[in-house]
Symmetry: D2
Subunit: 397 residues, 4 copies
């Protein structure tokens, strides 16, 4: 019998998770090709990656809904997923629903709290008891599905900024915080701790705190497992990490880089809150100076425009100097469907993470940095170089 | 006393050459910084590249004009070069004029012939006598300026397509063609032969034939010198070679890539001729399928719009499929000043070529492929990888 | 019992006709609102316009297909029409099919001939016999549906250019041409003659010849009926007619106006033929100089890009001079679905034409000029002024 | 001898004023054509408008600088004005300098106060004494130049919002406020009062309060003079007022209209202050719902991007529904030079205002509404209709 690998999604009914679920079902049923899946590239065909049919989906969610409803809404609002495809997956999506448990909302901030279905979500006295509740869900999922491996990936809405500066840097000092009554750790970190303590890898596809604290990295190493983050790189920032190195290589001087992002999905609704937006903008902004080696003026706006739904439209204006100081301009418009771009990367990350764990790697999975806006453990933000790191890692015996 | 390195430009009064001349003068006089010069990047600072003040300019031209006139026109029409900068270079530009000789128009096609000042340009009975006349000009330049090295670079207008298929592949068989009365070899190839026979390296910054024939490559090797080409990569195609690999790496399927180019300089005037345009479009179009590994529908238009002068504006529309087959769109607009983008690369190529020759290299300089739309001797069109080749080459002891 | 008004469409299975049919069915069933319908504007609410439920559809077609097939293709390829909407109209569309008759292909040019289903289409020895066959179809439609009025509208593919210069200008001189064996009149004009001879109004929504000849205008007057054309104004040209007057009013000097159009529907396929494209480009280009009072450099390209389907994407680059001669730039991108934009205007034109006839008007319906790229009988191309003409006409008692 | 008409500019050394001055000098010297000047359109050639050579410039300013310095900075930073043109105007600009007096900063808000040269600007105990000081400057200008007419136009930086709700609506009740010690009236209104009390017309080209209060309108009527405002319409809002009516006329439903504005001139620096920005955004935003008759979601951003200087770049994203509810998109990019666009309109407004006064008109000059983002006294925001009002007014005997 084949291996069974669990993929546990925090934010299991969000757009990205729903797209990943539709996609996985459709891959298994051969209704779609592998377009958009990095792990399906020729460079990775000799790797023994987990097969689509070997992946089992489960997850946490704080809203009371079901996968089919979300999938149909995605089809109707975004016009990006064909309704026929959704209908063909109905039984698969209902199976996914059965593996979804109520999530936690510890320190997620007001905007996310407002999304949560209060009667559905459990609140816990201490961070420790929240972690234990999560772990019980994970245990049941593993046992119930005879999983050999479990990958936990965070796709939940962006939390407000959280200051890491005063956190202890070793796990030994950090762990007791979980028991304090006023532990301010956000949900994303509690999920990370829950997974890693059990020895399961954790991937943070959002700009939330997750496994960023140094002590949590140590926890991963102590438990012989892996983690990586943070903030999936899919649209405007992806293009920045592709274009900025080219400008740098040609020694063209960026004077200003302005990026406007508009979209109308739930992510956008949450980012409409100034606190949550702050977390996101920071993640989108920092790479430029790292790539260029100097600080041009930048401006990033993210605005919630309801009519756009999941279509994340970005307009970037790049003002640069060339030879003799002559100013020139490049602008681009990106009309991408957020879930469609992010969904397959979730499946890719599950496959690559599963491989890393099987290869016996521990701690940060830096070769996966091309997937993230703010990759942990590296300053490399040049997409081409990041991708080369993945290819090089893949080609290791 | 310092080395003197000659840079002999075919098309010495064109916009790119004029910009290179203004720039070189301004670098020597410290009136500009090194913005736009690749060879000024930190990666190349430990190389013993020729200093700006050691370069001496000369060249061939088929129009009767002078450098200051062209420079002022560039300043006034394009508003891209500051008039003050031009005025400050006046004596330098007049010095350049003294090293400019009448060029040849063998088989350059009607559009270019119309540009030529007939009383100024010499016509030759045989290709061989044209080559010899060119060599005499080069010899005088070398002797007169006590040059240790001479780099010949072709910046002249794009010639009509020339069929290489029936040309002999060895120099021994090829050379006699020069004496035939109806030798159809275009001027760009005669310049290449003239330079290489004398042992001077040749760089073809245009899509014209130049040193593309295999036999001419052999000539370079026989004479212990280098050559490279062809077609400088500065704007829309540069961006294609940056963006297409990123789409490929993310496994996004390009369905169509449409590129519209509009500009109003002399290059545009020549490309308005369907024959000459054919040469250019081919050069701009081929890289996509090489990068992607399949053939999406492409369309490239190049239109002469007088009011734009040297401002080459490109609009590209990239239609691609993502996960679940969902179609998405990226468009970009590039408003670059052609001469400003190309001018510094001419100086970079002179410096890197001089280094290659000093390093004892012969034949094609493939590590310079990032500078060309259709690099000879390699199928690598991914800009990031091409640039890495340059960096790797530079870092060789 | 209510009046019954027939709308007879030439090109009855094309994208525009199919959209009009889906729309009409959905209006009758109250499944859509009146978005996109000019005649539903408040300015026209006091007019006694024919009700949606009073319109009966029929038409000619040269391809063998059916309306549901075309509608589903529109839904699946363009993702612009919801499949559910199509399914809900199925029986209506099947009813439309029953009123569709084989069309003619006299002098439509090779590109359109290739589309035609040869066994389906009838060929006629003389223009006169083709006209009579058409008239027989119209007569049967009128009688079979007890129609009080019939409006014939041409939505068929663009024919190659046809030279009007040598045509006689009176109907008396013109009519005998129909009997000559080598009558070169294109199908669009034969349809016009067939309708007008029977006293039914004719509207030419394409750039084909149709009722442009002066003698055909006289025929309309002789038969106490109306006609108008030509070439529906829906996308890029619509915007030109909106923007150019504003530039003119501010006395900004247009130096060049470049428009690139890409799309992949059947219209695009036909326009890929240089002859047919010539007809279209002429129609799109002429209005600028009429609006501005001078001739800036213009360039219009129309390219068939299959992946875009019915999504007509236009990019316009407007280069203009302001005060002190300073050059500035406006660009716009229009991503419109061709059938969706044109479909409702067909219904609007039917309603306004029906009203014009009831008002006893004859000859050209100039107040409808805002609907056309090249309105017959007027030089007014300023959209705002054209629309005001419609409003003024509507408000006449 | 010819009439002498004074044009008194508040903000005399700003970019718009400087451009108007360079332009006026160049018109007088025949160095430029009338491009960009509305009053030079054929529609207005039969009006007896004041000749360029009859206009005398003066004004108030709060920074210590001179016109030539500002003009050269405009030439060098924006590359939009040719340096040669500036040099040719030098003596004219120096003459203008002699007519410039220190302005006032009553209630202009912190951002503008920071710009002011404190030793240069006079501060006044009461609004009344500020008004009197301004009037003394105006009187001297009129007497010294034997002016028959004086037009005062406000081009100063945007003030923070000012609440008009509690102001008395008659001049009799309003006037005493000027004597109160804590009169909060902003400088723009004091300038308006100063001019109108003397019987000179006042034009407010900014979104500041100026002559908006109803009582000030009454003052104009009482003094038999005219006024108009507010906020010059030159770029993005101009285009909105051109495009939105066309969407409305075609019954296309605007779902959202997002406008991003970036620029780096002094205006942008002031608008970087959230308070001042609020005044501007309100002025740019309101017209859409007036034109459309409903309230789509809108978003307007204005960001100070230093490198752009006076080049105001706007990107607008218009998301609209068509027939069958299908969503479509139009985007435009406007790369306009702010001073170049606004400068000539200042001269136009002076000419039309002079005419209005000579025609004996009093109160609001509503026929000038096409020049303003938020025209006083009318709800008409459709540019084409506004312009028609100007043409109709002009054609009155």
């Amino acid at each position: 019998m084949s291996r069974q690998v669990g993929l546990w999604i925090i934010g299991a009914h969000g757009g990205v998770a729903t797209t990943a679920a539709i996609g996985l079902a459709s891959l298994i049923n051969h209704r779609i090709d592998t377009c958009g899946l990095v792990s399906a590239r020729p460079e990775f065909q000799d790797l023994d990656l987990v097969d689509w049919s070997e992946i089992v989906l489960g997850g946490h969610e704080i809203r009371k809904t079901d996968c089919l409803t979300e999938a149909l809404q995605l089809a109707d609002t975004t016009r990006a997923v064909e309704r026929e495809l959704v209908i063909a997956c109905q039984s698969y999506l209902e199976g996914f629903d059965k593996n979804i448990r109520p999530g936690i909302i510890n320190n997620v901030g007001r905007a996310i709290e407002c999304l949560a279905d209060k009667q559905f979500v459990n609140e816990y006295n201490s961070a420790r008891s929240a972690v234990e509740a999560i772990q019980q869900d994970l245990d049941e999922f593993v046992t119930g599905n005879q999983l050999e491996q479990l990958i936990v990936i965070n796709l939940a809405s962006t939390e407000p900024p959280y200051n890491l500066d005063e956190l202890p840097e070793t796990w030994a000092e950090f762990e007791p915080i979980l028991d304090s009554t006023d532990c301010g750790l956000p949900a994303s970190s509690l999920y990370a701790i829950a997974a890693l303590e059990r020895g399961w890898p954790f991937v943070n596809f959002t700009p939330s705190t997750g496994s960023c604290p140094k002590a949590i990295d140590e926890l991963a190493v102590l438990k012989n497992t892996c983690h990586m983050g943070h903030d999936g790189k899919t649209g405007e920032t992806f293009l920045k990490s592709v274009l900025a190195p080219a400008f740098a290589n040609r020694n063209l001087g960026i004077m200003s880089w302005v990026g406007h992002n508009i979209f109308g999905n739930m992510d956008g609704q949450i980012l409409d809150n100034p606190l949550n937006k702050q977390t996101k903008v920071k993640s989108k902004d920092q790479l430029l100076s790292q790539i260029l080696g100097y600080d041009p003026q930048t401006h990033i706006s993210i605005e919630y425009i309801k009519s756009l739904g999941d279509w994340k439209t970005a307009w970037d204006h790049i003002h640069f100097r060339g030879f003799l100081g002559t100013p020139m301009v490049m602008t681009f418009t990106w009309q991408g469907c957020d879930s469609i771009l992010a969904g397959p990367l979730v499946l890719d990350l599950a496959r690559f993470t599963d491989l890393a764990v099987r290869r016996g790697e521990t701690g940060l999975m830096i070769p996966l940095c091309s997937f993230f806006k703010s990759p942990l453990g590296t300053d490399e933000n040049d997409f081409a170089k990041q991708f080369q790191m993945l290819v090089d890692w893949a080609s290791q015996a």
